[in-house]
Each structure stands twice: as structure tokens, then as C-alpha cells.
């Protein structure tokens, strides 16, 4: 994702939808990918993506370039995705208690199977499935977005040591899953 020109941000902040579309086109891929890997199904990812951009549009005036736009949109995207997924998990848990359905941690529905039919996405989906939302967010920002610990802490507004411990737990869970033979041909 490239940085957005200040002029474009100002025009979009004033309600210029064409300028906002420029912002959307430069960051939609990143936001949607994050949403997809956090939610692990396309319908939820689309909803999260829309929520992120509606929030961004409504708050562009308040943003005023205080941090880099990239960090700002990362923050909205991650927080929206984490909250959405936590809410979804809670709903599933409630229903599971009532109906004993499989939890969303297991790739189960058609949309998810479709999404992860590609080999790389399949492996990623399976491994992300054994992490909680907070760990998933940290590992995605670290391994896919290439953010360092300080940047991750900044995006998620958490302590540096919390970033470290979430990454540690995420990697422990991933290695345990891979060693159990969860991801074929992995190790």
C-alpha cells in the first residue's frame, strides 16, 4: 500500500467521493486481505471491509495526518476485524452450547473451503485457525505486513511486551499444529 497524497486526504475529508475512491483503491486490497484472514470467510470479510472504509470516511476530518495514513488505516482495519471476529466467536460459542455445532475455529463451511482451496491460502487458513483473534492480528502484521514490534504495538495500541508475548504464543501454537501433522508436508 502506498502513502496517500495530503491533498487527496483533504478532499476526501471534505466529502469528495472521487478522492475517497482513490484512497479506497490504494488500500482496499490490504484491508480486504486482513479481513479475509482474520474472519476466514468472504462474506464477513466484505462486511468488515465496508465497516473499515465507512469509519475511515467519517473520521477523515479528525485524522488530520497525526500518524501516517498507513498506520491509521491499519489500526482501523485490525481493530474492526478483531472486534468483529470476537463478536462472531462469542455468538458461535453461545450457539454451540445450545446446538453443539462445530466452532468457527475449524474450516467448516463452503465459503471457507472455497476461499482456502488454493494451497498457500489453505495452509495459512489452517494455521490461523488455531490462533485467537489477538494472536492472529499480531502474526499477520508481523509476517505478512512486515511490521516491527514497535509498529505493531502502535497499530494495536498495546504494550511492546504484549506484542512479544502474543507472537510467542502464536508461534508456539503454529509449531504445535504443524508438528501434529496438521499442515501436510509442512515439516
Amino acid at each position: 500500500m502506498q502513502e496517500i497524497a495530503t491533498d487527496t486526504l483533504e478532499r476526501a475529508g471534505d466529502g469528495d467521493l472521487q478522492a475517497f475512491n482513490e484512497i479506497y483503491r490504494s488500500s482496499a486490497g490490504f484491508v480486504y486481505s486482513i479481513a479475509l484472514r482474520m474472519a476466514r470467510n468472504t462474506a464477513d470479510a466484505e462486511e468488515i471491509t465496508q465497516d473499515v472504509f465507512v469509519k475511515a470516511y467519517k473520521n477523515l476530518k479528525a485524522y488530520e495526518g497525526r500518524s501516517s495514513f498507513k498506520t491509521w488505516i491499519y489500526r482501523i482495519a485490525m481493530n474492526t476485524a478483531i472486534n468483529f471476529c470476537k463478536k462472531r466467536s462469542a455468538e458461535f460459542k453461545k450457539r454451540e452450547l445450545r446446538e453443539r455445532e462445530p466452532s468457527p475455529g475449524v474450516v467448516s463451511n463452503e465459503a471457507e473451503k472455497n476461499l482456502f482451496k488454493e494451497d498457500a491460502e489453505k495452509k495459512l487458513g489452517e494455521l490461523l485457525g488455531c490462533l485467537n483473534e489477538d494472536q492472529r492480528a499480531c502474526i499477520l502484521l508481523r509476517e505478512i505486513e512486515g511490521l516491527d514490534y514497535r509498529q505493531i504495538a502502535d497499530v494495536l495500541k498495546i504494550e511492546l511486551n504484549t506484542v512479544r508475548s502474543r507472537l510467542k504464543r502464536a508461534r508456539e501454537a503454529m509449531i504445535a499444529y504443524a508438528r501434529q501433522g496438521g499442515v501436510k508436508d509442512e515439516l
Binding site: 467521493l17 475517497f20 475512491n21 479506497y24 482496499a28 486490497g29 490490504f30 484491508v31 480486504y32 486481505s33 479475509l36 470479510a45 466484505e46 471491509t49 465496508q50 472504509f53 465507512v54 470516511y57 467519517k58 494451497d119 498457500a120 491460502e121 495452509k123 495459512l124 494455521l127 508481523r142 509476517e143 505478512i144 516491527d148 514490534y149 512479544r164 507472537l167 510467542k168 508461534r171 503454529m174 509449531i175 504443524a178 508438528r179 499442515v183 509442512e186 515439516l187
Partner: protein
């Protein structure tokens, strides 16, 4: 340093290559003499490369933008809704035609038998003053000056 201490305090930073030189030395010393941790690090690097190395950015479908536009554009008020209805191609012709027809019929039905001059003279006498020019009183009352004009305006 034993394995648990290494895993707890240094492994994460070691894998991300962010250890300071002093801690790096300690980590290297442990790894140098611990086959289990060497294997763990190798496995972690393999899993990470295999899992994250080949993923690419995915663009959202086109309807996602359409949904955003729908949500950020202010919803039309009653005036905009009425305007939208009035500008429908058929209605934009039908409504003025219908309105003119109704007005014409109405005027025809209300047309008095007497001529304009007689009406004028009659009203001048009844109401007093110069009929046709608004008096100060009319202006203050916001009326149009005559019974007929008041009715039609």
C-alpha cells in the same frame, strides 16, 4: 541458560532478528550446544516461510465499494424524494399537462357571466379605493388586493 529460559525470553526476538548484541551472544551460545532448540528454530522458519511466504494481497469484489458509497452518502430527504419522482421521464410530462388541464377546467367553471369592466366597477364600489393597485392596508395584510386575485394567487 536452559531450554525453557531460552524459549521464554529470547526465542521470539531471535527468530525476528531483533536481539541486541549481548543477548544475541547468549542465544547463539545456547543454540550452539542444544540440538532441540536448533530444530525448533529450523521448524519455525519452515512453517513461517511455507505459510506466509506465498500469500498475496486479494482485492475485494466490486460490490464492496458500491456498498460503501451507499452507506456514506446522505440518505435523501422528502424534498429529494419528491424531486426524484417528478423527474421520472413519463411523470415529468404527465404532471404539468394534467395540472394545466385541471387549472383550465377550473378557470372555465368559475368564469363569471359578467364582463371584466362590470366586475371591476362592482368591486370598486363594494370594496372602495382603486381596484387593481395594492393599498397599504393590503400590503400590511399580505393580501393581493382583490377578492379574485386573493383567491387565485
Amino acid at each position: 541458560m536452559n531450554c525453557d529460559q531460552f524459549k521464554d525470553s529470547l526465542l521470539t526476538d531471535y527468530v525476528d532478528r531483533v536481539l541486541d548484541p549481548e543477548k544475541q551472544k547468549i542465544a547463539d551460545a545456547h543454540i550452539g550446544q542444544c540440538a532441540e532448540c536448533r530444530r525448533l528454530i529450523a521448524d519455525l522458519r519452515t512453517v513461517t516461510a511455507e505459510t506466509f511466504g506465498q500469500v498475496r494481497e486479494i482485492e475485494p469484489p466490486a460490490h464492496v465499494w458500491a456498498g460503501i458509497v451507499e452507506r456514506v452518502q446522505p440518505s435523501p430527504g422528502w424534498f429529494e424524494k419528491v424531486c426524484a419522482v417528478l423527474t421520472l421521464p413519463r411523470l415529468s410530462i404527465a404532471i404539468p399537462v394534467l395540472a394545466s388541464l385541471m387549472l383550465f377546467t377550473f378557470v372555465q367553471l368559475r368564469q363569471p357571466e359578467v364582463s371584466y369592466d362590470i366586475t371591476r366597477a362592482y368591486l370598486s364600489r363594494e370594496l372602495g379605493g382603486d381596484f387593481g393597485v395594492l393599498s397599504n392596508e393590503d400590503l400590511e395584510n399580505g393580501s393581493f388586493g382583490t377578492v379574485i386575485e386573493d383567491f387565485f394567487m
